[in-house]
Symmetry: C2
Amino acid sequence: MSTVFVELSISLDGFIAGADDGLDNPLGDGGGRLFEWFTAGPESNRINRYFCPPDTSKQIVEGWYRDCGAMISGRRTFDIARGWRDGHPIDVPIFVLTHNPPAEGEWSPRVSFVTEGVERAVKLAKEAADGRDVSVSAAGVTRGLLRAGLLDEIRLSVVPCLLGSGVRLLDGIGPVDLEQVSVIPSDGVTHVRYRVARP
Amino acid sequence: MSTVFVELSISLDGFIAGADDGLDNPLGDGGGRLFEWFTAGPESNRINRYFCPPDTSKQIVEGWYRDCGAMISGRRTFDIARGWRDGHPIDVPIFVLTHNPPAEGEWSPRVSFVTEGVERAVKLAKEAADGRDVSVSAAGVTRGLLRAGLLDEIRLSVVPCLLGSGVRLLDGIGPVDLEQVSVIPSDGVTHVRYRVARP
């Protein structure tokens, strides 16, 4: 069955981007630290131009590529990523949840806009994923899915740093009980995976 | 050499107590979830009346008892714990950092009040610890120590739940780089340990 999960790199203090993120500062102040592990491995571990991770993380990243059949993202991430016009590292349909789709501009042909809310986005993404999983990579969408009871798993790559400020992933959502599925320490990052418990 | 570390149970969303914690609600709303692992082990793992943890966690808790020579805490924790008048699980000197020591009341004879700031508290606690480590178990003190560059390690027991609100441990402190020392998954909790990098 198709699983809907959030997959993000996060600081120990809970930020997925630094402060003042935007078009001119896509990762926010200091946010580049969250992605250092992407390319911290030996050249022999290179997966593509984005990923050359340490040994243990390589298996995690290869799992993302293998399992992901569609993505749900948010308008802010779409804007900051410039609509993935040069391609997204994972070449699958991307559903961007927004009340205001852009009237014009340039973006990846894999992008569709969904204006009817999270339930509709999940339905479309699951159909497009065709049995594979649906990956979410935006903080606002994650919170919306958690509130709607539509998120199955939380998968975080916890980076050993404190950013102090920026975009928080988890705030104001709870109490929610989780089940610890796996905790895999790698070199300079730890990959954790939790299942959202249904009441 | 004596290490100064914070040691706390924390939800995945970063709270060390639930909302509205106080004398009548010492762990805050839903905060009891953070301490379930303390007593989640088989009776054969019982360490004392507070701790009966799962197998892997037992070794961690026994390490706390072995390594801890003194503690630094905050006034709010002191109040909520009612001055540890019935004893603290770890029987060592406790230095309570406060601008306003209580004029009267009842508290553990192990408690001393420090009004001269975090540096003085660390100095006194290290002297009292006599080569063993200094453990910190209060959010405000932790942030004060991080700001002053006096915290050596962050040791968290990450509990698989979201509290949504409450007392946040880490907020507004950064950027600070950390070194991942150990990540130990146990049954229903994960014990992580990070060293604070010095610039």
